[in-house]
Amino acid sequence: MKNILILGAGTSGTMMANHLRPKLKKDQWNITIVDQYRTHYYQPGFLFLPFDIYTEDQVKKVGKKFIPKGVNYIQKKIEKIIPTENKVELEDETLSYDILIIATGSKIAPEEVEGMKGKNWHKNVFDFYTYEGSLALRNKLREWEGGKLVVHLTEMPIKCPVAPLEFAFLADSYFTKKGMRDKVDLTYVTPLSGAFTKAKSSESLGYLLKEKNIKLETDFAIESVDNDGNKIIDYGGREIEYDLLVTIPTNMGDEVIERSGMGDDLNFIPTHHNTLQSLEHENVFIIGDATNIPASKAGSVAHFEAETLTDNILLYIDGKPLKEEFDGHANCFIETGHNKALLIDFNYKQEPVEGTFPFPVVGPLKLLKESVFNHWGKLAFRWIYWNMLLKGIAIPFISRNMSTKGKKIN
C-alpha cells in the first residue's frame, strides 16, 4: 500500500481528498488528511458576520462531514514536516508518505506589528479574519455609537485581497441603514499607492470611495499601534487616529512551515506557478494559501488549482510529465454595499477588465461593474462552497483556466 498524506482540512485539503479518493484504487492507495481543529469555517462569511448579515451557524460546520468515506481523518496538530525522510510528525505519532499535499493555509500574525495585539485587542482594535475576531467585532458594532472608524491593511500579500475594501463598503451601508452614517468618520488606510492599483480597476471603480464618503490614506507602512493615544503610526512618522480600528494584520503561513524550514520570510512555500509541485521536493505538492505563487489567496483560486493538481498527482503516479496548466485564475465577487457587488475574473497575466460573465453579451453577471445580480452571486457562493466547492464538484460554465470570452480586452 502507498500513502497520500494531506496536511490541512480547510478549503484546499478537503477538496483534494474529495477529488482524489474516487480516482485512486482503495487497495493501492491510502489517503490520510490531518487538521488540528474539529470545525471547518466558511471564511468568506467572516466579512458578513460583523454586520449581522450572517449568523454564527452559517459560517461553521463539523469538518469531518466533508471528508469522503475511505479517507482516514486525523484531528491532531502537525508538528514538523521532514521532506528528506518522507515523514510528518504529529503531536504523538509519525506518519510516512509517498506523496505529500500541503494545504495548511495562511493566518493572521498581529504580533508582527508592535502594539497591535496589545491591551485593546478585540476591545477597540479588531481583526475580522478569524472567527473570534469577526464575532467580537459584531458585538462591538451592535453597540458602537460612532466616531472614527479606520479600516486598515498592514501589508501584502493577504488572503482575499479585496476583503478590507469590501469591509469599508459594507460598513458604509451598515451605518446608513442604522441611520447613523453621519456619526461615523470612515477612513481606509493602505500600504499600497491607492485603494485600486490596477489601471482598469482604478478607471472603473475610482468613484466608489468618493460616492460612499470614505477617506483614503495611501502608502501607509505601519510601524506600531499606540493603544494609549488610539492611533496607528507609520515608519515615516505619520499618525492616524481612530476610535475603532479594524485591521488586517500581516498574513503568514503556519508556524509548522517555519519549523520544517520549508518557507520564505512569511512561511509561504516556494511552489511551481503552473504545476503546483514543490520547487525542492518532487513528491511534495502545495495548494491554496500555503503556496508562494503570485495568485490571489482565495477559495476560488484553490478550487481551480485543485483541478490541475488532481491531474498532476495522477500523472506523477504514472511517472508522466506534469501539466504546466494552472494560470493563476481567480474569480471573486466584491461586495460594494447597498445590496450590490462587483465580479472580477482574472489570472497571472490578465488584469480584471469590464465585460460579461460567464457568457459574452448575455452574462448574466457583469465584470468590474456594480450590479444586484453580482450580489446574489456572492450570497450564493456560500451554498456553492458547502455543497459543491468542498466536494470537488465542477462549477457549471466556469473552467479552471481563465476564459477571455465576454471580456473587453484591448
Binding site: 508582527e112 498592514t154 501589508e155 501584502m156 500579500p157 485581497p161 479585496v162 500600504p191 499600497l192 499607492s193 485600486f196 492599483t197 490596477k198 489601471a199 480597476s201 471603480l205 495611501t218 502608502d219 507602512a221 510601524e223 515608519y235 515615516g236 500581516t250 520564505d264 520570510d265 512569511l266 508562494n292 503570485p294 490571489s296 481567480a330 471573486c332 466584491i334 472580477i344 482574472f346 480584471p352
Partner: protein
C-alpha cells in the same frame, strides 16, 4: 504608453513605471529619480539592486520586509526615498509597483 527617458524611448504605465525591465539601465533610473526629486547615491543603488533581486526571485515586497533585508533599516529607507519609499524605489528600479488584484 511611450516615454523618453535619458534619451531612450521606453514603454511605461500611466503612472510612469517601466513595463519591460529589459529596457532599464542606470541612466534611466537616474532620470526617474531626478523627476521624483531624488539624487542617487551609493546607498540608493544598493537598495535598487536588492529590490531587483527580490522581484527576480518572485518575493513580495513590503516596507516591513526591508527590515529583514540586512541592506538597510526602515528609517533609512524613508530617508532615501521620502514619502512613499516602496512606490518610489520600485519605480526607479524599473520593476512593477506593489499591487493588489484590483
Amino acid at each position: 504608453m511611450e516615454a523618453v527617458l535619458a534619451g531612450i524611448k521606453v514603454m511605461v504605465t500611466d503612472d510612469g513605471y517601466l513595463t519591460d525591465f529589459s529596457q532599464w539601465n542606470e541612466d534611466i533610473a537616474r532620470e526617474i529619480a531626478k523627476n521624483e526629486g531624488i539624487e542617487m547615491t551609493d546607498r540608493h543603488w544598493e537598495v535598487i539592486k536588492w529590490i531587483q533581486e527580490q522581484v527576480k526571485a518572485g518575493n513580495p515586497l513590503s516596507v516591513r520586509g526591508i527590515k529583514k533585508s540586512g541592506v538597510l533599516d526602515i528609517k533609512e529607507f524613508y530617508a532615501l526615498f521620502p514619502g512613499g519609499p516602496l512606490k518610489l524605489s520600485t519605480k526607479i528600479a524599473g520593476v512593477p509597483k506593489p499591487k493588489s488584484c484590483i
